[in-house]
Amino acid sequence: MPLLDVRNLCVDFKTSEGQFRAVDSVDVHVDVGDVLAIVGESGSGKSVSMLALMGLLPWTATVSADAMLFDGVDLANCDARQRRSIVGKDVAMIFQEPMSSLNPCFTVGFQLREALKAHLPLTRRERQQRAIELLEQVGLPEPERRLRAFPHQLSGGMCQRVMIAMAIACKPRLLIADEPTTALDVTIQAQILELLLDLQKDTGMALVLITHDMGVVAETAKRVSVQYAGQKVEEQGVRELFADAHHPYTSALLAALPERATTRSLPSIPGVVPGQFDRPAGCLFSPRCAHADQLCHATSPDVATQAMGFARCHYPLLQGVPQRSAS
């Protein structure tokens, strides 16, 4: 049984101009000990799908799914109390802006111990002890002193380590990291990623890494899921994806990597991600796709087979060549 099984997830937001579909029929599967990377540009809905899972979306959002199962528990239909017993304990999430993700009015120690107190039956002394252990585990020197500090006294990298410590406090089985390094310095980025991977290896927990950086994906993930404009457009193992991307969008993303550049100027994908008012009738990527034809503009594509990376494309690529015959 997969650890996380989400099928056909849809999230709509209520805006002043009607409903906006931020996530459109997305599937997510994570097994025990898996490392899944979800890649996409801003506006692709990659964060929203995970926030929906955790129940962290604002009141303007409507979530629906065929299935949203974590370890067998139906998260879509469970009651609030049951969800609270899972969230923060078996499933944890860390976010993009570590400095603003910690409450400025309370010390780091308070917030860390609070996470422990909510889910584990420990005494106060044990909680303090565990808090120190956690800070050591995430690589923060002088843990006792850090516990007494306020978030604004710590740097971005340190705050993110604290966030990670809070997330792994109750030994979760799944950790969702939403662009954990985007807001940090480049040097710190590498450290945080390494920390996450080490923790994953040590504890055997599954890791879902949301990012827009393909380089990060190459280094960290086992499997990759690519999202575009709220839809999942491809999913493959990481080696296979880099070797042979099946969806034109993935292909274009990879081509845009500086490491892969062969000409003087870097290729980029023309156009912009469709917003609320300019959603194309057919395939959402068709306005920007080099291989699009009449069919692409007119009809929404179905999802291809596993062999073709579940690509949402009429003519998935094979070695860069769109397969015009079958779809």
Binding site: A255, T262, T263, S265, S268, S286
Partner: protein, 333 residues
């Protein structure tokens, strides 16, 4: 492992397209991605005029629209008082002292809401009172706003010691509760409606000074002001024609709030005997002598206060609606 070489759009490449320069990548399909226009699936959204846009936001707020309607009704009543009121506001009917409203026993349809202690028809007094309330609100806001805005403009443009002096003065004024200040001023000037209005206007004015000055300070560094100055606009022109129109939004909201504060404060002064003097049918003054009848004739107490409440409530609802409609920060995208 041919990475599909998606040629970049013309504006992001320097010089000619690079794809034909000795590259032996497999090319597929067309020579370039025409920026294919998707079929227009969204309605043609031309930006509506500023007033229409404002009205769009304002009318979404049900409370604000109700407030507007009620307020307009009061204005109408005030204007048509002579026509609508069944009796005069000051005529005393000695035979009908403290008569209850028509639906209680002892009431007649001649005095629909009853009469007060000297036999004046309550309904007529309330109707004429609308005139006074509206009058008070308009005059006070006009005085407070015009002087306040002027002083604020001066403070904002002059800077230096003039600015500091003005702001310190305003801070002192703001330190006092406004009713207290108005009270003392009326005490000095003598109790009358006009003096009450002047006093209230003075107490409300610092808000306008502050708002205007803050808005001016925000607008001054902007380019359009600099260009106007470069072209040779005079200080006065700069103040009133260039900068002021762009500071209007918070001022309008403040005007709405001041309107209601003015009515409440004038009523309070009237109640204390320091505002409009009897027999003026100002709603607050009508409540002044009614204290002794609290237990005997509740209608003398209830209706004037109710009139104030409904009027002020309507204005506050409108003010809230105005603020939500005009405040760009709250505009939903």
């Amino acid at each position: 492992m041919a990475s599909d070489h998606t040629p970049s759009s013309p504006d992001s490449t320097r010089g000619a397209s690079t794809d034909t320069n000795g590259s032996d990548r497999t090319r597929t399909g067309q020579t370039g991605p025409e920026l294919t226009r998707p079929d227009r699936t969204w309605p043609d959204r031309t930006r509506p005029g500023r007033f229409k846009e404002f009205w769009g936001y304002f009318s979404e707020n049900r409370g604000a629209v109700i407030g507007l309607i009620v307020f307009m009704t009061f204005v109408l009543i005030a204007i048509m008082a002579d026509v609508i009121a069944p009796h005069s506001a000051t005529q005393q009917y000695r035979e009908a002292l403290l008569q209850p409203p028509v639906w209680l026993e002892g009431g007649t349809s001649e005095f629909l809401l009853g009469t007060d202690a000297v036999g004046r028809d309550l309904l007529s007094r309330l109707i004429y009172g609308a005139r006074y309330s509206f009058f008070i609100g308009v005059i006070v806001v006009v005085i407070a706003a015009s002087t306040g805005v002027l002083i604020g403009l001066i403070a904002g443009f002059a800077r230096g010691w003039v600015d500091t002096l003005i702001m310190r003065l305003m801070d002192i004024l703001l330190a006092f509760p406004s009713l207290l200040l108005a009270l003392v001023m009326v005490a000095i000037l003598g109790p009358s409606l006009v003096n009450a209005m002047i006093a209230i206007a003075i107490t409300l004015q610092p808000q306008y000074v502050r708002l205007t000055r803050a808005a001016v300070l925000q607008e001054l560094p902007k380019d359009y002001v600099t260009s106007a100055r470069v072209v040779g606009a005079s200080k006065a022109r700069l103040m009133f024609i260039t900068v002021l129109p762009n500071c209007l939004a918070p001022l309008i909201v403040q005007a709405a709030l001041s309107f209601s504060t003015a009515i409440l404060d004038a009523a309070a002064l009237g109640f204390l005997g320091l505002g409009a003097q009897p027999p003026t049918p100002e709603w607050g003054t009508m409540l002044a002598d009614s204290r002794e009848f609290v237990l005997r004739a509740w209608w003398v107490v209830t209706f004037p206060g109710l009139a104030i409440l409904v009027n002020v409530l309507a204005i506050n609802l409108m003010g809230d609606g105005l603020r939500d409609a005009l405040d760009p920060k709250l505009k939903r995208s």
